[in-house]
Structures are given as C-alpha cells and as structure tokens.
C-alpha cells in the first residue's frame, strides 16, 4: 500500500466516523431505491433536514 492509499484510507475513515459522508450515502440511496420521480434534497437542504430531525428526535450521549 502506497502513501496515497493510506492517506485516502484515513480520509475515508475520518469522514465516515465524523458523519461527513452522510449526504453521499443519501444520494446513493436515492439513486438506488427511487430512481426518477422522487424529489432529491440539495446538499444544503439535506443537512438542514438532518439537524431538524435531531431536534425532533433527540439522542442521548453517554456518561
């Protein structure tokens, strides 16, 4: 494994753990499941919707 792959791997992991890839996962999901016709949120809408859903459905943090 070269340096580039390692760096790419670290970037992938950090993005995943931080949840930064959420929008990409959403797009992949929409493309796979609904195909055409469904309304696809823009990136900005998606992140707003995400925190709004957290507002309506809070999750505890551990002690």
């Amino acid at each position: 494994m070269g340096v580039v792959e390692v760096a790419r791997g670290i970037r992938w992991y950090v993005r995943g753990v931080m949840g930064e890839d959420a929008y990409e996962k959403y797009l992949a999901h929409v493309a796979g499941e609904h195909g055409d016709g469904a309304v696809v949120m823009t990136e900005r809408e998606f992140w707003r919707d995400r925190t709004d859903r957290q507002d309506a459905n809070p999750q505890g943090r551990c002690c």
Binding site: V17, G32, C62, C63
Partner: protein, 750 residues
C-alpha cells in the same frame, strides 16, 4: 473455491451469495494452523504474565505497561472465545437476513454503514466522561480491585450487555430499550423501566454537571477556556448552516484549533488581574450558570450548539484517547499505590465511603458495566448496522475499547503521588480547603509511604496553573493532573504541564456539557410523552410552550440535585457519586433483565446463564449498595443514619456537628440526606419491579415451552459485507465476487 451459495436466500439470479455458508465459517473457526495456535498461546502467556505482575508480585512499584498488557490480552481472549461462544449459542445471527439499515433504508436514520466506521461511531457515542471519572475515585482502594473489575467485568458483563441489547434492538427494527421493556415485560415492568430511565437520566446529568463545577470552581483558566467552547460551537454551527454545509471535518479542525487557542489564551487571561476578577467563580454561581446554560442549550435548535459541539467532542475524544494510549506505552509510568489499600476493607476512604463490596462496583460503572450504553446500543447504532454478524465486533468490541479507556484513566490517576491524590480527592469538609489542612488530614490517614508536604501541593498547583489543587473532588482534576504528568514526559516537559492539565479539563468538560444538553433534551421528550397521557397537547413535541415547560421541569430536577451537591456540607461528590453508580448499574440490571426475558422467550434456556450471571451480579451489587445507603447505621454510609444523627444534634440544641459548622449547614445535611435517601428507595424499588417482571416473564416462557418472538419478520438480504475487523479467507473470496459485479446502483451496499 469454497462453496458459498448454500444459505443464500437472495436468488435474484445474478447476485453472489449474501452470506458465507455457516458450515464454512465453522470450519474456518476450527482450523487451527500452527501459526494461529502460536499467536494465541503468546497472547495467553503475555496476559497471564501481566496478571502475575499485577496481582502476585508485590514490589515497591508496578509498571503501568502491565496494566495495558493484562487488559489487551484479556480483551482479545474474551473477544475471540467468549463473544464467539455467545454468538454461536445464544444469538445465532443470520447474515442472510437483512438488517434494519437494509430493509428500512431511508438514506438518513437507517443507512448501512461500514463496520469499521460504525465501530468508531459507536465508540464515540458510548464513551464519555464516565469511564474517566469512576476509576479515578476507585483508585483509593488500591490498583488491583479496580483493574480486575474493569477487565473481568467488561468481558463477562458490560460487553455482553451492549452486544445483546444491540442485537435484540437490531432484530426489532432499532427499537429503544424502553419500547423493548414494554414489549417483553408487560405494562407494569415496562412502565417501571421507563420511569427508572427518566430518573436515572436526571441523576446522571446532575452528577456529571457536579464534576464540571468542581473542576472549574476557583479556576479562572478553566472557566475561561471552557466558556469559550460556547462561542466556538456557535461559530461552527453557523459555518455549517450558512457557509459550508456538510463540511464536518473541516469545521471540526477549525474548531479544534480555536479550542487550543482558547486553552492557551486561558493561561494568559488567568495571569491578568481582570481575568482573575472576572473568571474566578465560586461553586454555587457556577452551578447556577450551568443550570441556565442547560436550559438555553436544550431549547436552542440542534444545529446551533449541540451538533457542532458533538463533532468537536468526537474529534477530541478519539484523538485524545489515541494520544494517551501512545503516551502510556512510551512513558510507562511507575505506580506506587498498593495493590489493595486499607480503605478496601475499612470502608472509611475519604474519596467515597464504603467497603470494596459493594461500593467498588458502583463507583466504577462505566468501563466495566454501564447501563447507559443500553440506551445507545438500542436505537441509534442498530439502525446503521450493515450485517447481523457485525454486532459482535461493534457491540462487544466497542465496549472493550471503552473498558480500555477506563484502564488508562486508572493508570493516569495512579501515576500521581498518593498524598497528592488524597489531598485532591478528600472533600473540603475534611481538608478545610487549605494546604495546611490537607497536609494534616492526609498525613493523619496513616497511609504507608505517604508523606505529603505543603511544598508538594503548592508546586503541583503551580505546575498546572491553578491557585490550589486541594479538595478538587470529582475525579476530573485528578485525571487531568495524571494526564498532564504523563503527557509532559512525551511532549513539552514540565513547562507544558499547565497546558496539558487544562487540555484534559477542557476535554472532559466538553463531553459533559454535551451529555448535559443531550440528556436534558431526551428527558424532556420522555416527560412530554408521559404528561401527554394526561394532557394530550403535551404529546406534540413541536409545541413551544409545552417544550419549554417540560425542559424547565427537567432542568429544575437535575439543577436541584446539582445545587444540593455543590452546597453539601458533607462534600458533595462523596455523598452523591454512589447514587450515580447505583443508578447506572440499575439501568444495566434493567437492560439485562429485558435481554433475559427475550432469550427465555426464544427458548434458549441452556444458555440463559450468559445473561443471568451478570444480571444476578448487577442486581446483588446495586440492591445491596442501595440497602446500605438506606439502612446502614453508619452515618458515613447510610443516608438516613446521617439524617438521624444530624436531626438528633439539632434537637440537642447543638450549633455545629461533624463537618457542618452552622445550624443552617446542619439543616442542609438533614434536607440533602432525606432527598438522597428517597432517591435510593425509588431506584431500588423500580429496579426490583423490573427484575421481578423479567423473572416472571422468564418463568412463564419456561412453563409454556414454546417460543414467541417480538422480532420483526425476516427479510432476505441482498448485500454482503464481512463481519469482523479483518475478513476471513472465505469472506474475502465472497467479497471479491461482489466487487467483480458491474457497478450499478442496485448492487451497491457500499
């Protein structure tokens, strides 16, 4: 090529199998190559040697590296053998079944996540300040009892609980613990479980807030840098909302740099007269500040404060824990504490009162067995799991990592001088809050090898940039001194000790403030749901007035306990911390009880002991600890004995008693002990109701003989992913078949 098609139910023609044939998995498991045997013998020998070094060879000192080896080797063995045993006989995951992330996929809450990413994610969600605080306080009993409980407890109890709850929740579409309790235990047991969860949440938030108040009181540096996290988070929130949505890592790095600047700036501010005047705050005003903050933070929208601070805290958590692990391995500090101290048997320890059994097991909850995890392991994580068999790695393995954090906290606390440790952790009621008082008190304890001098306390306080370190109870400052002590040997030398100390304080305060904020929100929703049964309008959580009233009630509830803790003439942490541990372990007992009922209904009686043993242990520990807190005639232990002693003193017309110097303080003790006693009664009653309901459900299932299930119906899976961190040869083979598929959106699970 292994035959991997036998079990697949996904016969859509072109797709490869979605699971490795169980027979092949079994064969792989049983194939013991000489190399594999050699590796496991080496792990077992190293682990055994480490335990011998810790437990049997009692030299003057013991090196911290043995703690690391004993822990890691035991975790490996527990993970490889015990968790596999549980998987094979009790849970029987089936990778041909789709997980909720697949059959309920919505690209948002339900989204299949790579197992390695989810491991990090889940770990960040379960590990907070708890595993950093409990072991520090338990260090007064010596290093061995805490070490054994953390390591053995996690393998047989804590990780088992997390794993089972996660698996059962996953099989139920990601249902929460409360919902599962209602399904499995009926109305009475379920309601008791929900009330217990709500009250436990309140007490946990209160005591975490108390830890922060104790760490920041009289510390202008700490107050400044922790207060700066609020504008930093607000800035990050706005950045993500309006400027660059979704750039989470980028904003976290910016936030982290600002955080470092706040820590360094705090040092400069604390040197100025105005800084000292402005940011030196007493405990009570600080507590009120946190209460006000808690209310505002819980009603603000998530994007503004909670979400950005969550990112920051995840970033800090994983980074700092990796850094500390490396530092301990590099520095390998010597530990001077005895294996088992006199306080383990006498029960008169100044940090937390009570003998080893049962109080060690409630002082260390997080890291060994933490009921709170059941709330995370049900709900959030199960909605993200890609394949059923991954729950062992994420649930069981994730908890092992938290246990390791607890071991590191214990090592850090033990690496500082024992005299300093007791001076920091004895309550101000005992030390008088002065250096002279602390020296007299600690040297008066008659501990072997402890000879505290005023110089040592003044020097340490000076090193970490604090006015004083006497009676900085709550665990966080002690851990910070320990961490600073270790880190400065790697980076920066003694000149950077103050930086590392405040870095550690900041690190803990960040988790705790997030837990306070999120806990208040969750409790608010639970309360609204309950009030909604009487006044339906409250069920509507977006109704502002209802939200504000419910938030105010919850904040008032934990705020009252917090104020009680900071003004307690008996010390605060030493009287309240047992309640925190008891609450957490009771939640664990509730979670294990629910699991037991589920297993009984599945009909797996032969292996019921896997959950019955930790349940029995948690029940015995918490119920006996609660009974001692309620019925013990020793005032230092029993709340009501303390209450009676102070009432008697008041009736006798005394104007000071014990550590209470005035009649007012004596009245406060009477009030506080009554509240604490009633809370103990409430917790233990609720827990007994839940456990009895679970035992009855188990017996009913045994009588009926047939198994019933509250699981969601099985849906065939259409994706494949390996189960553990490293794929097995058969999994790699199958993965290659999936990778070879032409890239169409439908084939993609990842």
């Amino acid at each position: 090529m292994p035959k991997t098609s036998a079990t697949t139910r996904a016969k859509d023609g072109k797709l490869p199998p979605v699971a490795v044939d169980p027979a092949i998995l079994e064969a792989e498991d049983r194939r013991w190559t000489p190399l594999k045997i050699a590796i496991w013998i080496a792990i077992a020998l190293l682990g055994g040697l480490s335990w011998v070094m810790l437990a049997v060879i009692r030299g003057e000192t013991v090196n911290a590296i043995w703690f690391v080896f004993a822990a890691v080797c035991t975790y490996f063995i527990g993970y490889r053998f015990y968790s596999k045993y549980i998987e094979k006989h009790l849970l029987k995951p089936d990778d041909s079944r789709a997980t909720p992330a697949e059959y309920k996929a919505d690209g948002k809450d339900y989204a299949a996540t790579d197992r390695r990413v989810l491991y990090g994610h889940h770990f960040a969600a379960i590990a907070g300040a708890g595993p950093l605080v409990g072991p520090v306080l338990a260090a007064q009993m010596g290093y061995l009892p805490g070490t054994i409980w953390i390591i053995v407890g996690v393998v047989l109890a804590g990780a088992v609980q997390d794993y089972l709850v996660m698996f059962f929740s996953m099989r139920r579409g990601g249902r929460s613990l409360g919902q599962m309790a209602r399904d499995e235990l009926g109305r009475v047991g379920g309601t008791a479980a929900i009330i217990a969860t709500l009250t436990i949440m309140v007490i946990i938030v209160a005591i975490l807030a108390l830890v922060v108040v104790n760490a920041l009181a009289e510390s202008p540096w700490g107050v400044f840098s922790v207060a700066m996290t609020i504008p930093i988070a607000l800035f990050m929130g706005c950045y993500l909302r309006f400027f660059r949505p979704g750039k989470v890592t980028e904003v976290s790095i910016i936030g982290f740099v600002l955080l470092l600047a706040a820590i360094i700036g705090g040092g400069a501010v604390a040197e100025t007269d105005w800084g000292v005047a402005l940011f030196t705050i007493d405990k009570l005003p600080l507590a009120i500040g946190i209460i006000v903050y808690g209310f505002i933070a819980a009603v603000l929208p998530v994007w503004l404060l909670l979400a950005p601070r969550d990112y920051l805290s995840t970033f800090m958590k994983i980074g700092t824990i990796l850094m500390l692990a490396l530092a301990i391995i590099i520095v390998r500090p010597e530990i001077f504490a005895p294996a088992v101290s006199e306080f383990a048997t006498s029960g008169t320890g100044p940090v937390v009162s009570g003998t080893l059994f049962p109080f060690l097991f409630v002082t260390i909850a997080c890291g060994a067995l933490s009921g709170f995890h059941a709330l995370i392991a049900s709900g959030t994580t199960p909605k993200l799991i890609e394949k059923e068999r991954q729950t062992r790695f994420i649930g069981y393995g994730g908890m092992l990592m938290e246990s390791f954090v607890a071991i590191m906290a214990l090592v850090a606390a033990l690496s500082i001088d024992r005299g300093i440790y007791f001076a920091m952790n004895a309550s101000a009621a005992a030390t008088g809050g002065t250096i002279e008082g602390a020296v007299a008190f600690v040297n008066g304890l008659g501990l072997q090898g402890v000879n505290l001098t005023p110089d040592m306390l003044a020097q340490t306080a000076n090193d970490v940039g604090e006015e004083s370190i006497v009676s900085r109870t709550g665990g966080a400052p002690t851990l910070a001194v320990g961490l600073a002590h270790i880190m400065q040997q790697v980076i920066g030398g003694s000149g950077l000790m103050a930086f590392w100390y405040h870095f550690a304080i900041m690190f803990e305060a960040l988790f705790i403030l997030t837990a306070v904020d999120a806990g208040t929100r969750v409790a608010r929703f639970m309360l609204q749901d309950s009030i909604g049964n009487v006044i339906p309008k409250f069920k509507n959580t977006s109704w502002r007035v209802g939200a504000w009233i419910s938030t105010a009630i919850m904040v008032a509830a934990w705020g009252a306990i917090l104020v009680m803790g900071v003004t307690d003439p008996l010390g605060g942490i030493n009287t309240l911390f047992p309640l925190f541990g008891i609450a957490n372990q009771l939640l664990a007992a509730i979670a294990l009880a629910v699991c037991m009922a589920i297993i009984a209904k599945r009909g797996y009686f032969r292996y019921l002991w896997i959950v019955a043993v930790p349940l029995a242990f948690a029940a015995v520990v918490t119920i006996s600890a609660s009974f001692l807190k309620i019925f013990s005639p020793v005032p230092a232990i029993g709340y009501f004995a303390q209450n009676a002693a102070f009432r008697q003193a008041l009736a006798d017309g005394e104007t000071s008693f014990g550590t209470a110097p005035t009649v007012e303080a004596m009245n406060a003790v009477v009030r506080n002990t009554m509240v604490q006693g009633i809370l103990s009664i409430l917790f233990v009653t609720l827990a007994i109701i839940v456990i009895v309901a679970a035992v009855l459900a188990t017996i009913r299932a045994a009588r009926r003989g047939s198994s019933e299930s509250s699981e969601d119906a099985a849906v065939p899976s259409k994706v494949f992913a390996p189960a553990g961190l490293i794929p097995t040869p058969a999994e790699r083979e199958l993965q290659a078949q999936w990778d070879a598929l032409p890239k169409t959106p439908r084939a993609g699970g990842h």
